[in-house]
Symmetry: C2
DNA sequence: GTGATACATATCATCCTACAACTTAGCTCG
DNA sequence: CGAGCTAAGTTGTAGGATGATATGTATCAC
């Protein structure tokens, strides 16, 4: 299980809390684009923390391109388009509606990923994907290890596209979903559902081996819709691209 | 033009430089997953800056999920899958190969975005999209204003999907591309190219009005491939989904 | 009265020191 | 030999001091 528990149990540090507060205030629109933040001193008084803590919080927001600090003047909220990073609010994912949307995005990325991978994969890629598949099926029940293998399977497919950005984006989205589900304890499906899940993966793998992009895309689409259903998320009807 | 120049001309602050250095050391693999970073004091001596500056740098990396700091022990490099944010290295985009890949990702996202938007758009969405289109065509030459309108056009389409994550991801990718191109001064295409560009947008808009997902997707795909070509990036052949 | 210069103020940037909280390893003592 | 304690190392937080930069104000020359 490695050190993952340590990561989950991370204490909320003061700068993190301050950053989260400001970030939410910006997202919610209480601080509009162009608005000036309170001075560091005011913030440190307001939150009852040292100016050092406030600065660390602001450093985070600045790195994300949410605000811009100008010496001698103050800090200002930047336009949403200027963000230098994508970040997903874990809280928001507790709303099933949002989880649904995230699954939809994942479906888009992974469907095309499977399609491209089918066209571009080499033997080494197939080997890595197969290895993940075996690890997944090797487990008796659906546990931490199986989930790791599951995600690895999807990441390896993304890697087979030869496009590192696709890999990065898919890894990110999958991980967000995984952690949210883990947190909500939606996991641990019944045994027969596990077999269905593995079966769906096998179908994707077969299409990759055959080098058939359309089949791979269809199989991936079906799998993700199925995976969403299994954790209680009903995906809206996608394009009927599978049906002729 | 607003305040954008200020954002571009942002000075490189010390914490930013330290963070960039450490970040690069992690990406390059010099600091592997699980490795322990030097202590804050060692870092502050190494870079010749105060411990405060080092802490701000570490705060950024921590917020991104690149490292995990544990009181009393030290800071450790986390696995790439655990990243809490997506960030794109602007430097890497100077390599045409990477730009190509980013365009490919954009194509995937936007094609599906157009398809979904065609199926789900309301009148208000069409109005916003049309407004952006008019602003784009209104300009004589292809300047800052036209580019803004261009991006807005794509963002509004993404908004019409009703999926905020799709909107976020597309906005982000487009902005990264825009800024890289702006930086490389690849812009300012010839006049006839401008007309081609606007024409492509009109075709997308018409498909959205008609509520035809397949046509919208095809038009968007053609447009992005064209846009890439116009800045000197040749996209690899995508799926031939348009051609039956 | 008007314009330019110098000054005072506000704010962020950086540095410094000190202490608290936490972890580990080693040592003491029963 | 083992349990508990101590000491050292590291990150977390606090608070103040100084430098750099932008802005507004007052002063002074004309």
């Amino acid at each position: 299980m490695k050190q993952r528990l340590a990561a989950i149990g991370t204490v909320e540090t003061l700068p993190h809390r301050v950053a989260a507060f400001l970030s939410r205030e910006i997202e919610s629109g209480e601080l509009n684009t162009g608005a000036r933040l309170p001075t560091e001193q005011e913030l440190s008084e307001k939150f009852g923390v040292s100016r050092n803590v406030v600065r660390e919080a602001i450093a985070q927001l600045r790195a994300d391109g949410m605000i811009e600090a100008r010496q001698g003047i103050g800090a200002f909220v930047l336009a949403p388009e200027q963000r230098a990073a994508i970040r997903i609010d874990r809280e928001a994912l507790k709303d099933t509606h949002n989880m649904e949307r995230l699954f939809e995005l994942r479906c888009i990325l992974e469907a095309e990923s499977a399609s491209l991978a089918a066209a571009r994969r080499g033997q080494e890629h197939l080997d890595s994907i197969k290895a993940a598949l075996d690890r997944m099926g090797g487990e008796e029940r659906w546990e931490e290890g199986s989930i790791d293998a599951d995600l690895l399977f999807h990441r390896e497919i993304a890697r087979a596209t030869g496009n590192s950005y696709i890999h990065t984006f898919i890894s990110f989205v999958c991980e967000q979903i995984r952690q949210s589900i883990h947190y909500a304890r939606m996991t641990n499906p019944l045994h027969d559902l596990v077999e269905i899940n593995v079966g769906e993966h096998v179908r994707i793998y077969d299409a990759l081996v055959a080098g058939d992009p359309e089949a791979a895309e269809a199989a991936m689409r079906a799998h993700i819709i199925g995976a969403a259903n299994r954790v209680g998320v009903k995906l809206p009807l996608q394009k009927t691209s599978g049906a002729k």
